[in-house]
């Protein structure tokens, strides 16, 4: 189903999509999207949504199932509290990407903004994955409680850090994998930097495979460079704060 988003407000657009899903439609091509918010929000069916243009904030918020393919870049708060599904971004992403994301995957080809992957968490077989092709700004993986946040640093000019300051501060679960190094001064309290194990290596290869397929990259090329792994030193970062 093709929907021309020109002049459509988000409520109307989403209603059209939801109505069509209820009627059995599984594929959507949204044309001329320019800043429409909440695309895919709250949808819990496995449908395909292709977006031509630039979607607005809260793309894929509270989403649980759809596969969203964007044509270029996206704005802020993408995959907010996302429960499942896929978001593929060939361009860059704004701030607060994947906040409190519990499941599904977000693939960004280029850079991402500030505060990405905050409070990501995993539960049982739900494990959220965010892969950033380029770099991330400050506060990446803050309060991270589960899942995988992978930063590849592709096309990084020399001297540019792969992740900004306070990377992983308050982290108490999950892991960040950085292809290259995060400057020590940028690494948050309670985060340890570890070497990649053979197991990690396998996991990364498997995780990156669909990413590379979706964005036309070579897995082995990416795997060729060394990764480091950032993990929480404790699942109880604030155990010592209080007088009981």
């Amino acid at each position: 189903m093709r929907i021309d988003a020109t002049g459509l407000d988000h409520r109307t657009l989403n209603e059209q999509i939801k109505t069509a899903i209820a009627a059995g439609e599984t594929e959507f091509d949204l044309a001329n999207v320019c800043g429409t918010r909440y695309i895919g929000c709250g949808i819990d069916q496995e449908v395909d949504i292709r977006i031509e243009g630039i979607p607005g904030n809260d793309l894929a918020a509270f989403m649980s199932g759809p596969r969203i393919h964007c044509s270029g870049s996206v704005q802020d708060s993408v995959a907010n509290t996302m429960n499942g599904g896929l978001v593929v971004v060939p361009g860059h992403a704004g701030d607060v990407l994947g906040y409190s994301m519990r499941g599904g995957r977000v693939y960004v080809r280029e850079n991402a903004g500030y505060r990405i992957g905050i409070h990501m968490k995993s539960y049982l077989n739900q494990e959220p994955t965010i892969i950033i092709g380029g770099r991330a700004k400050d506060f990446a993986g803050e309060y991270m409680a589960g899942g995988k946040l992978i930063i590849l640093g592709l096309d990084t000019p020399s001297g540019e850090p792969l992740a900004g300051r306070y990377c992983g501060s308050g982290m108490h679960g999950g892991a960040m994998y950085v292809r290259g190094e995060v400057p020590e001064a940028h690494i948050g309290k309670g985060v340890s930097v570890e070497e990649i194990t053979a197991e990690d290596q396998e996991m990364l290869r498997a995780t990156l495979k669909p990413y590379c397929e979706a964005l036309g990259l070579g897995v082995e090329e990416i795997m060729g460079a060394p990764f480091q792994k950032l993990r929480a030193t404790s699942t109880r970062p604030h155990g010592q704060l209080y007088a009981y």
């Binding site: 509270f62 907010n80 539960y123 589960g146 209080y242």
Partner: protein
């Protein structure tokens, strides 16, 4: 280990003439204070461990026990009283922030007690609620400005989604995790059976409570625990928690040891890991971000549920509340400085925020002035003790009231303020299976229903006394209030006349 300098807080008095050494006290104490000698069966108390929860006192079959707060210890000092010295000793020994539970225990001015309700005498009749219908039914949600009709006289105006309350009292946010499942179950069932609502807090909705979804206000807090499309769907309303009266500006933190298998499943986080709710929502850094989240939730729920925004009453609560209404909130919940909590740093609880009375008076007035009062309902929270407090709040302009502490006391809480230890001997603020059993939800539900019924009866009586038969006529009716012992400014903020005028 060096000697602890923290003085005992309580004196456990056991009347030897009455004690039959049955050992009930020793089995009920969760803090290790009451002990039975395995050799001769004699019972004794280690007073340093006593938290004053009164469990042993209540269960003692012969009334042999009394637990009383110790008088000031050592030399009297008006400033450096025992409490202040005890706090310092605790910190000197632990190096940690002082933690506490329940609402602030400092003697803040209670404006409720300085406000008086009106009653009819001669010039208009009071109404007898025993004989005549007395309406407490309240709807929460955005109301239309006016109703428009088509040519045939059919109303064109559509009503926004509403919560329908048979009594304008809601059980406020208490998460499963901070309270036991039995307590949560009691609240949920009592709400359902009394025609009101309970609030999940940010603990998710336990599977056994799913059946009460239509009476659940589900919270979306910064940790987003348990927030899934299904969670949002199975609810009566969704509440974005920005702040809490007991700890404005700071986040929440359920220690890993309380994250049991069941709590983990409900919050959808790993067992044993800390459940941290950061201070801010990292997707809300401004009022337009709030609007973005409000509409994200409206989209996610198909515009079928009211979206509430809960904020702590702080200094600039007026523009915040006004902003929330303009951002599309259907309900604005405000929690005052006396609001409760299962765990909060004492200094924050007792020093940050403002009383709900003043916040309500100011917010309601401003929203009316702005002509947007109908666009959101106001729910207020923070230390509502009785039906008169509720009536006064409604007269000040609230649509409904959240009660937390009152509900917990109804369930059996004895205000020892040790919720954060997870050793609640009343089975309320604990996940210890030995302790949670103590709250039988059958009893809990009955007690809460009784409480609401009793308040409802009183409210109807007061309403009738004021010559009204609908709570609608009290809402914002500040004519029904008079103040005493207040400054002109306080009176002005509350919008009430002094008693005698």
């Amino acid at each position: 280990m060096p000697l602890s300098l923290i003085p005992a807080e309580f004196n456990v008095q056991r009347d030897a003439d009455l004690c039959i050494e049955c050992g009930v006290c020793t089995r009920q104490c969760a803090h290790g204070c009451q002990n039975i000698d395995p050799e001769d069966g004699s019972v004794s108390s280690d007073e340093k461990l006593c938290v004053g929860c009164q469990r042993c006192v209540t269960l003692c079959p012969t009334g042999a026990l009394q637990v009383v707060q110790r008088a000031e210890q050592g030399r009297y000092h008006a400033v450096w009283n025992t409490g202040a010295r005890r706090a310092i000793a605790r910190q000197a020994e632990s190096g940690g922030m002082l933690l506490t539970g329940m609402g602030a225990d400092k003697p803040f001015p209670l404006y409720w007690d300085r406000l008086f309700l009106n009653a009819s005498q001669v010039t208009n009749p009071s109404i007898d609620p025993l004989r005549e219908p007395m309406e407490l039914r309240t709807f929460l949600g955005a109301k239309p400005d006016k109703i428009e009709f088509d040519q045939q006289g059919k109303p064109l105006t559509k009503l926004s989604p509403q919560l329908e309350l048979e009594i304008p009292v809601i059980f406020s946010a208490m998460s499963y995790g901070s309270i036991s499942l039995s307590a949560a179950m009691s609240l949920a069932r009592a709400a359902a059976e009394s025609g009101t609502y309970f609030n999940t807090g940010e603990g998710g909705l336990h599977r056994s409570l799913a059946q009460y979804g239509s009476n659940a206000i589900v919270q979306v807090a910064s940790g987003r625990f348990g927030v899934t499309p299904a969670y949002l769907e199975n609810s009566a309303a969704v509440e974005i928690k920005i702040g809490q009266g007991a700890k404005p500006g700071i986040g929440g933190h359920l220690p890993g040891e309380k994250v049991s298998a069941d709590v983990s499943a409900t919050r959808m986080i790993p067992q044993g890991a800390d459940a941290i709710s950061p201070a801010p929502h990292h997707d809300i850094y401004s009022i337009e971000d709030l609007k973005q989240l409000i509409y994200a939730l409206k989209e996610a729920t198909g515009y079928s549920k009211p979206i509430s925004v809960k904020i702590a009453a702080v200094h600039n609560v007026v523009p915040i509340a006004s902003g929330a209404v303009r951002a599309g909130a259907d309900i604005v919940a405000m929690d005052g400085v006396r609001g409760g909590s299962g765990a909060t740093p004492t200094m924050i609880r007792d020093n940050v925020g403002i009383p709900i009375e003043l916040a309500l008076g100011a917010v309601d007035a401003q929203l009316r002035k702005d002509g947007i009062r109908h666009r959101a309902s106001l729910v207020v929270a923070g230390g509502f003790r009785n039906s008169a407090d509720v009536m006064k709040a409604i007269a000040l302009g609230a649509d409904a009231v959240y009660i937390g502490t009152a509900a917990l006391i109804g369930l059996g809480c004895h205000m020892c303020q040790k919720c954060y230890t997870g050793k609640c001997t009343w089975g309320i603020a604990t996940q210890d299976p030995y302790l949670t059993k103590r709250l039988n939800p059958e009893i809990g539900v009955r007690r809460l229903k009784n409480l609401l019924r009793a308040w409802g009866l009183e409210m109807k009586e007061m309403l009738g006394g004021m010559g009204m038969n609908s709570i609608d006529s009290l809402r914002g009716n500040r004519e029904m209030l008079r103040g005493i012992d207040m400054t002109e400014q306080e009176l002005e903020i509350l919008g009430v006349l002094p008693a005698g005028r």
